[in-house]
């Protein structure tokens, strides 16, 4: 299905992650939640994370998007799971695309969705703990 010449079609890894997405769903007791969307193609993503000792202990995603959006987000969660927050923040769109063996030219932008939502989720985690700290300080 994937054409080396023009880069059209999807690799087997993309198709695998698309058809068997890893870590799909939503964590109801998440420590952080991040969203992102691409207004051009209408794709949207929500990533929720559970954090223990500065590590991503659990991660889930929801997606409204094309095959590439589903596969790249699935791969993002695989790459992020078990990583420290700093390591997770360093995951790039290229990392995701490479881990899937490449993406068609017109689908490269999809690989940005996962890392962006992940960053937003980590940011949200930090926002929450600083709020929590603020809250504790206030009580002091």
């Amino acid at each position: 299905m994937y054409c080396e010449t023009c880069g059209s079609g999807y690799t087997n890894d993309v198709m695998d992650h698309f058809q068997n997405p890893r870590n799909s769903g939503h964590l109801v007791d998440a420590d952080g939640e991040g969203k992102t969307g691409d207004p051009e193609c209408g794709d949207h993503i929500v990533i929720s994370i559970k954090v223990r000792n500065q590590r991503i202990e659990d991660i889930r995603f929801l997606v409204y998007g094309c095959a590439a959006a589903i596969a790249t987000t699935s791969m993002t969660t695989e790459l992020a799971k078990g990583k420290t927050l700093t390591e997770a923040l360093n995951i790039t769109d290229d990392d995701v695309a490479n881990a899937l063996g490449g993406l068609p030219e017109n689908k490269l932008h999809c690989s940005l969705l996962g890392p962006t939502a992940l960053k937003n989720a980590i940011q949200n985690y930090y926002d929450r703990i600083s709020d929590f700290k603020k809250c504790l300080m206030y009580q002091d």
Partner: protein
């Protein structure tokens, strides 16, 4: 794996009888119809019979049929030809926002040359408004080009009324009937159509052959210049096998039109009923009365179309997000946009078209699989009834 093809609007397989009608023209009967010897002359007379069969399907004279390389060439020829022919009269063309790209991009090409084009709005079902049409006419208007039936939502326009308006104002009327041909009764003369585009591969004929009907008396310059073929109006050695295939397909379509419409309509309605009763939150786009018999266009809310198509493909089910030629480009359908659908609904919409080889079993299999797929995709969708953006 089971294969269920539900994309007859994109293209159709060639019917057995059609292929049989074509085969001799590749080998024994390979003569050039312009040649003066035996196999040339017999090709020439076969060509004239073929023309008569296509003419019969649309109720015209055979001398009004000009074979082209397909619907796209017919659209380009009608619009560019009229633009050149009527230059002295005016530079204004009226069309609609939901035409095929073959029409829209031809209009855009002419706009760059200084022609002015009015793209009529359509209502939420896809119909143009006849008062809008009449209001858009100026004394510079040289052409009204409104498609007979839309390729994405199947809406059938009020062609007869448009023909009357065109006639009243002395303006040429072209219609792209690529999707309507063989699916709707068409009598071009009675409907007041001056030019009409057709394509064989939508009616179980081969790809790469079509025709433009040009009413007697309408004069437009050639799009393809060269030899004296097609009564000197369309040059190029005739695609004899393609033409014979088109003619056979037209003959079959004409002979079985009523049954075809009846059986296709009932299959389509069965599919629509089944799928909307088994999956909640589906919208039907377009009109259910004035609609192409095989077409249904559905919005699967909260599920993205491309993902849905690929999951369906993995189960052997073929359908598409819109017109085939733009499906690879991921631009949201200009047709659904014109119907007023918001982006997220456009991206969740799929066109299904049933055809002569579709069975009730096919539909049952497709519905069963689609139910499971939609369930799965919705289980991890970023959207649902409660969770909107």
């Amino acid at each position: 794996m089971r294969q269920v093809y539900l994309d007859y609007s994109a293209t159709t397989p060639v019917k057995k009888e059609v292929l049989e009608a074509m085969l001799p023209y590749f080998t024994e009967k390979f003569g050039n119809p312009s040649s003066l010897y035996g196999i040339g002359l017999s090709a020439k007379s076969d060509l004239s019979e073929a023309r008569a069969k296509v003419a019969k399907l649309i109720g015209t004279d055979e001398r009004e049929i000009y074979f082209t390389s397909g619907g796209t060439e017919a659209d380009n020829w009608a619009v560019i030809g009229t633009a050149r022919a009527k230059k002295a009269k005016g530079n204004h063309i009226i069309t609609s926002k939901i035409e095929h790209h073959a029409l829209l991009h031809t209009c855009e090409y002419l706009e760059k040359e200084g022609y002015e084009v009015t793209y009529l709005d359509v209502d939420s079902k896809g119909f143009i408004n006849l008062t809008d049409l009449e209001n858009a006419i100026t004394d510079k208007t040289i052409l009204i080009s409104i498609m007979f039936a839309n390729n994405e939502v199947g809406t059938i326009q009020p062609i007869k009324e448009i023909g009357e308006i065109a006639k009243k104002h002395g303006i040429l009327f072209h219609t792209d009937a690529v999707q309507a041909l063989g699916n709707v009764p068409i009598h071009a003369h009675e409907l007041g159509i001056d030019m009409m585009s057709m394509s064989a591969h939508k009616i179980y004929g081969p790809k790469g052959i079509g025709a433009l009907y040009i009413r007697k008396g309408v004069v437009i310059p050639n799009l393809l210049n060269g030899g004296a073929q097609e009564n000197k109006r369309r040059a190029g050695t005739e695609n004899m096998a393609g033409i014979m295939g088109f003619a056979k397909a037209a003959e079959l379509a004409e002979a079985n039109l009523d049954e075809h419409i009846e059986s296709i309509t009932s299959l389509r309605n069965y599919f629509a009923k089944e799928i909307t009763s088994k999956i909640e939150d589906i919208d039907i786009n377009g009109d259910m009365e004035k609609r192409l018999p095989g077409n249904i266009n559905l919005t699967f809310n909260y599920v993205e179309g491309e993902a849905l198509l690929l999951y369906m493909d993995a189960k052997g089910i073929a359908a598409s997000t819109g017109s085939a030629c733009s499906s690879a480009s991921f631009t949201p359908s200009h047709v659904l946009r014109a119907l007023g659908l918001p982006l997220e609904k456009i991206y969740s919409s799929i066109r299904f078209t049933v055809g002569d080889f579709t069975t009730k079993d096919d539909i049952d299999y497709a519905v069963e699989e689609i139910v499971k797929i939609v369930e799965k995709l919705r289980s991890f969708s970023a959207f649902n009834k409660e969770r909107t953006w």
